[in-house]
Amino acid sequence: MSDIKVVKTLDNSGLSCPMPVVKTKKAIKDMEIGDVLEMISTDPGSIPDMEAWARQTGHELLEAHDEGDKYRFLIKKTH
């Protein structure tokens, strides 16, 4: 856990499908391989959507947390 260093935070609060996924893709594009993106969302569909997104893109979903009023994700760029 301690080796995870978030280099960028993307807050998608208030945005609904498909924007959290679209904005995550755009953010990841501008990062370096190995970088970790923290993404915050309030879209209740974002946990299954981010899991599917990670499987499809091959980027690594390190964490997906339901924090009650919001969801928090850590995504590592792999390629």
């Binding site: 996924v21 679209v22 893709k25 091959g58």
Partner: protein
């Protein structure tokens, strides 16, 4: 991950505000997952390529459409107003009112506008093909469309769709 990206082939055949959403949502989501995406805009879907988007809600063609008021208290907002379509859709200005109510409700819920989704689609390299035959029939010119739009026919779409993983007609 496979070397070859997956492909999504969509046909957008409806031009109302509500029906404009599915193709643009699916296209941007798929492109965000590194898929290759093409949308073929045909018949009433073709005006979605116009620079000046004028998509409206058409209550008359959606008899089961719930209508929500985007103001007032929570319980008032949650009411599904029954819409007597036969009567209301003949009322001047009703489509404009239904359209502005839907736009407001969508905005309040954080749903992107069709304009925003189309901009995203352009940015994500979604291939957008306008149907040549529909242009001829309804009298559209290429200059009316966004410059990213390509023009083609059924064969153009089918060639892309031939080896697509997902093909949908909306």
């Amino acid at each position: 991950m496979d070397d070859k990206p997956k492909k999504l082939a969509l046909i957008a055949s409806q031009g109302t505000l509500d029906w404009a959403y599915p193709p643009f949502i699916l296209a941007t989501a798929a492109a965000s997952m590194d898929w290759d995406v093409a949308i073929f805009f045909t018949f009433y879907g073709l005006p979605l390529l116009k620079k000046d988007l004028k998509a409206q809600v058409s209550p008359a063609s959606n008899p089961a459409m719930p209508m929500k008021m985007p103001f007032g208290g929570e319980s008032f907002r949650n009411i599904n107003w029954p819409m007597p379509n036969i009567l209301m859709s003949n009322m001047p200005g009703f489509e404009a009112m239904a359209t502005s109510l839907m736009k407001k409700t969508f905005k309040d819920k954080g749903v992107a506008s069709i304009e925003e989704l189309r901009e995203m689609a352009v940015e994500l390299d979604v291939k957008m093909i306008g149907c040549q035959m529909t242009m001829d029939v309804f009298g559209f010119k290429k200059e009316e469309f966004i410059e990213e739009a390509d023009i083609g026919g059924a064969a153009t779409f089918l060639e892309f769709a031939a080896d697509s993983n997902v093909s949908l007609f909306v």
